[in-house]
Subunit: 349 residues, 2 copies
Amino acid sequence: MNIYDISKAAGVSIASVSRVINGADNVSEKTREKVLKVIDQYGYTPNAYARGLGRGSMRTIGIMCSDSSDIYLANAIHYLETGLREHGYNSILCCTGYDLEDKKRSFELLKSRQVDAIIMAGSKYVELNPWDNQYIIEGAKEHPVMMVNGAIEGENIYSVICDDRGAMEESVKRLVDSGAKKLIYVYSSRSYSGIRKLEGFTAGAKETGLSEEDARIVQGKKDFHEIASLLRREFKKAPFDAVLCSSDTSGVGALKFALSEHLSVPEDLQIVSFNNSVLSTATNPELTSVDSRLEDLCTKTISLLMDILSPNPDDDQDTIRAIPKVPSKNVLEAKIVERGTTRFIRKRN
Amino acid sequence: MNIYDISKAAGVSIASVSRVINGADNVSEKTREKVLKVIDQYGYTPNAYARGLGRGSMRTIGIMCSDSSDIYLANAIHYLETGLREHGYNSILCCTGYDLEDKKRSFELLKSRQVDAIIMAGSKYVELNPWDNQYIIEGAKEHPVMMVNGAIEGENIYSVICDDRGAMEESVKRLVDSGAKKLIYVYSSRSYSGIRKLEGFTAGAKETGLSEEDARIVQGKKDFHEIASLLRREFKKAPFDAVLCSSDTSGVGALKFALSEHLSVPEDLQIVSFNNSVLSTATNPELTSVDSRLEDLCTKTISLLMDILSPNPDDDQDTIRAIPKVPSKNVLEAKIVERGTTRFIRKRN
DNA sequence: TTGTAGGCGTTATCAA
DNA sequence: TTGATAACGCCTACAA
């Protein structure tokens, strides 16, 4: 069932069928009706590949994420896919895993699919070794690359990130304000945002005059029980009265630790975690968590992308206008959502 | 950069280039090397659409899910996408939402993308009104449809499900065995698996001789606090000592309820929930939860699909063989994972 | 308003 | 082992 069959059945040329399919206005009502009827009858759907071949764009965006089963990324995918479709774009998804070679492979694959752009979701795409990001910079020559919650500098690369660094710094200050004297920071990865958070922690510690022992930093695996026992070991070495976590997963782990040590939260121990995911309200007490505003990040990403892909949406007049320059780095502010694991005195500043 | 450019640069015909790209064996080593070198030099990637057009398949599978931010479905997507790619297939994702018309639209869209098959993930695609499933049955004429955790009868439709019904029945029995006298079942949707669970609950109640008041059924929204207050209301009407939940989300809600009423778990109240997701270990005590073996479901789905797509993988000999018939309904057994919210006496049979 | 014909980048079929 | 050349199904000038 192709455009020829339809044209034959409707007794018109394929050009007319094509026009009807694409909603062109230079078709007589009569022809349109005839064609539409036949299309409906035969249940014909135009072949997207032939279409894409013909016009050079498939209105398809490639989305890369390292692991769609990660709550944070799963949400990102959802926001992105849905938003994109609202704008008439489809998405093809690649769960790339964490291995650099696999990431590269997926990137290539998406390129071969002639996607109109690639969105890289999550901060795991910024490699520590700048050289390893070269494939992105190269790839961006063929189509825009959008980074959600990560940033790389380069032509045709746009990033939308949340000020995790600031939020972390603020969290440290507020914990100290509310009486915490010995902090510990638990992180799991040195991804882009991971590093920003780390910076924020040290900055906060410095500003509040905390010594290095009173603002410890430890790394742990992303697993409730692993984190809990890690903290147990650390607590034995030297007690602490506040723990900051790079993710809610670690936050849950911290809570499990507190429970096992019979520390009452937030009296004996305060906890602040990141992401404000479902996990943060599943526990008891519920976790104070930093909302990194994922939905807003995604919405912003899409609106930027649409600007890039169609610089002058309603520029059908011969109005001379400058193409609006799309900023290559976009930062949103994070929000600290207070819940049961902290006893903040007051909202700072 | 297309196949002509490469052929020109390498001084061979496009046919040869094509052969090299596709790893045909009737190419001289010399030619192969030349071509490969040029390809590498120019960074050429073949255009997937032209390719698909040429051979009639894009080695692409459409995945539909109602909401990728749902933990369960997010995992499904991950398993499916990864598994598919291992088999050389790509996936294009559609988060369809819950509205029937939107589902149909996505289905059409995937069809127009000439996918080799469609995988419908989650039990939300089986409508109560059989007529509403017609679009799937129709669509299955053009390519296989795989249903993960849902089932519809029809030509070229294959389903892989987990025996939720049996697991629910078993859960009821084990709760009663361990002393529970008044049960309440909290469910949220009447999806395919939702109904199976409901059946399992009543079956279990019947078998253990529970009266209708002692095996209550209530419906609630999928939200921690909503479920908690729903239970609070129900408890006021008439107390219960065990709650079964159709999902871990409700399980968390039940736990919040217990806490607010100062009921100790599992002494005063036992809880069993479904899905064995991250949530089930995030709480304290951790939830006893039924593992619906999502990963196995997905793996099974993919292996079935591969059988369907290439009936005789290594049938290059003229061996005459019957095409193995792929079963259209595949059921896996669920596993009850005991944790801190139950005090089961012994493993029943 | 309609139709014709060339092009999009591959694959696959034949000859050579 | 190679190289022309005809599909593949659609879009889009250009002509009628």
